[in-house]
Amino acid sequence: MLRIRGLSKTYRGGDRALDGVDLDVPRGQLMALIGPSGAGKSTLIRCVNRLVEPSAGEIVVDGAPVTGLSSGGLRAARRRMGMIFQEYALVERLTVMENVLSGRLGYVGFWASWLRRFPQADVDEAFRLIERAGLGGMQDKRADELSGGQRQRVGICRALIQDPALLLVDEPTASLDPKTSRQIMRLLVELCEERQLAAIVNIHDVVLAQMFVQRIVGLRAGRIVFDGPPDALTTETLTEIYGEEDWAASSAPEDDDEDDAAAARAAALRLAETAR
């Protein structure tokens, strides 16, 4: 679904954010991208839809190259990539419905979108998605009236109405409380399964990632240093990604260190009990 080869990005000023990244994400796979702040996670997913222009390398989505496209071709390519943001990035003064329908901007002409005359099929789909995300009846509320969790659901609807093949998710839970974070992650997992979407999820919360994703990729200083299933993430690998830290203490203090990943999951489950 997504194939990245030799992707590098050097910002003006010489900061090397990505350094020869190779990555494949197959259809239907929810992949978490972890790593310390400044490791290049945000840059990586923004290179995929070219919100950030890559310095070198090749990106292919669904068999079609994204790098080297003209602006018209890029618009068409972006329609197939839904993006979800940390601070939701909803247009605050527009309603829930308008925000969701803005996901169709790549498909409708300017005047139709300016006059808010979206095709009935799009409107039907918007109603269905809003209902599916548990926001039924809120279509006419303005985005700035919603809570964080509700806003993120609108953000997810906006990405899904694009009918994407690939989801690019940038820190979806960083601004949310633990319970809402889990609900949002669960919704993402279900939706990816339903629609067989590939997804890259940038995430800081390693425990949360381990609970929900099938694969974890660790990024450090612009290079991939870990790629494997959640269970394979050990103290050593975490140290390799993030640097030295007492990982056992932060996840599960009373457990002996024989299986950190399991301990982490146990801690998360306890967290879940208290959250309920």
């Binding site: 990035a89 605050e92 003064r93 996901g103 901007l105 300017f110």
Partner: protein
């Protein structure tokens, strides 16, 4: 380097370095010198006998202005209406011309930062640097007296005001919202329609109503140079030394401005 290590090994911190303090001291010195100099210039051209006389003169003028000649009000409705129309149409024209200039001038929306942006900024500066009274003077010379000259004068002045405030609002918009719209595959025009316009809408409404409010005040004086409205009447009465009529006109202008301020305050409150 506000942080320095003293010979005793103590680390001291000061708000400013020595050169910075000296520079500030000289800045203040220059300011004081400027005040002294200005005072001398002011004194040179003032005839102090007239100034000592001023309270008596003002009192005399007030006596001559009273009682107001209310009968002149019948001739004022038409010029007042002209004044309001001049301000409103001038503002509308200013908005129509100023909004595109703002989009060309804002770094976030300009299609060409090297050619169109400087031109748009030049238009804004040119419009702002000339008072609407001066614009009216020029236009009356070019196209003769009348309300049309006033409308265009007000519009020309408003372009700069609206253009400047709106382009600043455009540069302060939240980039995340625009990024999200870009990521959906929206075209450049759609990015403006969905990413920028909703964000600047309250500011835009506020600026337009505020400018309309200012324009009503400005249009009351445009008649002084022949651009129509109540200023024309005012000029005529002052020339004839008909001070009781002037009092009525002042009252009429005061009421109009008060009403326009009330309206603009209500509109702004409703939108934001």
């Amino acid at each position: 380097m506000p942080i320095q290590t003293l010979p005793t090994g103590q680390v001291a911190w000061q708000r400013r370095t020595m050169p910075a303090r000296l520079a500030r001291w000289f800045g203040w010195l220059l300011g004081v010198l400027l005040v002294v100099q200005s005072w001398q210039v002011m004194n040179a051209d003032t005839i102090w006998e007239f100034v000592y006389d001023a309270p008596a003169q003002a009192g005399d003028l007030l006596v001559r202005m009273w009682p107001p000649r209310w009968s002149v009000l019948d001739q004022l409705w038409r010029p007042l209406w002209d004044t309001l129309n001049m301000a409103t149409l001038g503002t509308a024209l200013g908005v129509v011309l100023g909004v595109p200039v703002a989009f060309l001038a804002a770094r976030t929306t300009t299609p060409s930062a090297t050619i169109l942006r400087p031109i748009a900024l030049l238009v804004i500066v040119a419009s702002r640097s000339i008072n609407s009274l001066i614009w009216a003077l020029l236009l009356v010379t070019v196209m003769g007296p009348g309300v049309l000259a006033g409308i265009i004068a007000i519009a020309l002045r408003s372009i700069g005001f609206i253009g400047k405030l709106l382009y600043e609002a455009l540069e302060e918009t939240d980039a995340n919202q625009v990024e999200a719209i870009t990521a959906t595959g929206a075209s450049a025009a759609q990015r403006i329609a969905f990413g920028f316009i909703p964000q600047i809408m309250p500011t835009f409404a506020g600026i337009s109503v505020y400018r309309w409010d200012i324009n009503i005040r400005e249009s009351t004086v445009l008649g002084l140079v022949g651009a129509g409205g109540i200023g024309l009447q005012l000029n005529a009465s002052v020339s004839r030394l008909a001070w009781p009529e002037v009092t009525v006109m002042f009252a009429a202008i005061l009421c109009t401005v008060a009403v326009s301020e009330w309206v603009s305050a209500r509109v702004r409150a409703a939108i934001i």
